[in-house]
């Protein structure tokens, strides 16, 4: 009696975790040279290390990195956190932000198709843009601009992804505000708060990866005296 417990009798399968695709769209143009690119690289290492400490995030977050500077490059395709190797980025070139955003939207849709094909459940993907300037490959009102606005605003409206924009230093916040989906105000990184911002991102992704059905996630506010960001009006 009592020896044949159900736990020892039934076959319990390995968990099939839902995945959360996250794309970092990073400005590596010439203006990011010096401390900024060094802090960005350090931030990527912090983000990776923090996520690797979180058991669920390791199983659920798939991270990709797109850079825009000397062209637009998918420097890390979607990779699980345990295998993710943060890239060492260097600065140079212009700011082809429009093409980079469209590439992020494309890879997110491609990833969701892959999830569906293999039958993996998934959370709404995140696109996280960081820039210190303004786009050089589109102007407000031109064809690419309209394409980007439609992709970002339409994508958010259709719940295809969540888009966050973060400005650094001399970033054109007016343009970022127009690119950002309505209601998602872009944030300006406070000086010397790179590490805090990546810690926030890590915490937020951990929360998302541990969210349950129907749950509205309350992310820690990045704005405030202790936060890493400010909203520029």
């Amino acid at each position: 009696m009592g020896l044949d417990k159900l736990e020892d009798i039934v076959g319990i399968p390995y968990p099939q975790h839902p995945h959360c695709a996250t794309v970092l769209v990073l400005d590596t143009s010439a203006s990011m040279s010096g401390n900024k690119i060094a802090e960005l690289n350090e931030g990527l290492r912090i983000l990776t290390d923090e996520l690797k400490e979180d058991d669920l995030a390791v199983k659920r977050i798939d991270l990709a990195v797109i850079t825009f500077g000397k062209g637009v490059e998918l420097v890390r395709p979607f990779t699980g956190i345990s295998a993710f190797d943060p890239p060492e980025l260097s600065a140079g070139g212009y700011t082809p932000m429009g093409a980079a955003i469209l590439e992020a939207v494309r890879v997110v849709e491609e990833r969701k198709t892959e999830y569906r094909t293999i039958g993996t459940d998934y959370y709404r993907p995140w696109i996280f843009l960081i820039t210190d300037g303004q786009p050089t490959d589109m102007r407000k009102g031109d064809e690419k601009w309209e394409q980007v606005i439609e992709a970002v605003h339409g994508g958010e409206k259709d719940h295809k992804f969540l888009f966050w924009a973060l400005g650094v230093d001399q970033a054109n916040m007016t343009l970022l505000r127009e690119i950002s989906p309505p209601g998602r105000t872009p944030l300006m990184l406070k000086e010397a708060k790179w590490a805090d911002m990546f810690l926030w991102l890590s915490k937020s992704l951990s929360q998302i990866s541990d969210s349950r059905i129907g749950e509205q996630i309350s992310l820690e506010s990045p704005v405030g005296p202790e936060g890493w960001g400010v909203i520029q009006l």
Partner: protein, 257 residues
């Protein structure tokens, strides 16, 4: 000796807090209920949504009302249309939730919950389902999927009984079998698995579970406790950080012990 066609029904289950609720000191917001009737049984499981302030209360009202409604109807009418009965039971569940919400001066959305109700008779198994979770049947040693999580693109989205569109979200399915197993989202991964994009029943879990519960009866064991112990085991808790509910109903030849 029992008559050849004499059968009796057994239903058992448990709801336990998931690891996230334990960590955050939130009580279990899943619920389950059962009713054993002459020639039938009804079981219900529900998952109160964390985003809703009184999701756990909603789940409790949903399972108790729906199972109670089915039991009353089956006692009054031995041969009802079970699909319609389940629709009515879900509707009563929603009505009672709305009443409770009204008494407390809050919106019904504060009680958001999924609901899965199954009725097993000598002839069939019928399931009514809103939201996620899963239901499988067992016939001989062959498991079949009866109901799957409702369609939603993202893993953290689901339909709820408390939604305005609950009637269009209610999916009724029927099959045959001598056992029915219902699970909320937290442990649905133990009874159905994704295989190349489709859900299939996970036999290594389902078959030994039902056979063991059947054999435990003759040993006089507490079946609810056995399921509770299973759900709190580390390997089950590794499946998900959500609350877990597993309810099993089956019929056996002969008379009850």
């Amino acid at each position: 000796m029992p008559e050849l066609n004499e059968r009796y029904y057994v239903a058992c289950g448990a709801s336990v807090a998931g690891t996230r609720h334990i960590r955050d000191q939130i009580p279990c917001e899943d619920a389950w209920a059962k009713a054993i009737l002459p020639g039938a049984l009804a079981i219900a499981v529900a998952d109160g949504l964390s985003s809703a302030e009184s999701g756990g209360k909603g789940a409790e009202i949903a399972v108790n009302t729906s199972v109670g409604t089915i039991a009353d109807a089956l006692m009054a009418d031995k041969d009802p249309d079970i699909s319609n009965l389940i629709r009515m039971a879900a509707g009563k569940g929603r009505e009672n939730i709305e009443r409770d919400a009204c008494l407390n001066g809050v919106e019904i959305s504060s009680y958001a919950t999924t609901l899965l109700v199954a009725v097993l008779t000598n002839e069939c198994v019928v399931c009514g389902h809103i939201g996620d979770g899963a239901c499988v049947t067992l016939s001989a040693d062959i498991a079949s999927v009866l109901s799957l999580p409702g369609p939603s693109e993202y893993a953290n989205e689901t339909a709820a009984l408390t939604g305005k569109n609950w009637e269009s979200q209610l999916r009724i399915s029927s099959g045959t079998g001598s056992a029915v197993i219902c699970a909320t989202d937290g442990c649905q991964g133990a009874i159905v698995r994704r295989d190349e994009g489709s859900f299939i029943p996970y036999n290594p879990f389902i078959v030994p579970l039902v056979r063991s519960l059947e054999s435990y009866i003759s040993e006089g064991r507490d079946l609810n406790l056995e399921i509770s112990d299973l759900l709190t085991s580390s390997r089950m808790q590794a499946l998900s950080s959500d609350d877990m509910t597993l309810a099993v109903g089956f019929c056996l030849p002969g008379e009850p012990f």
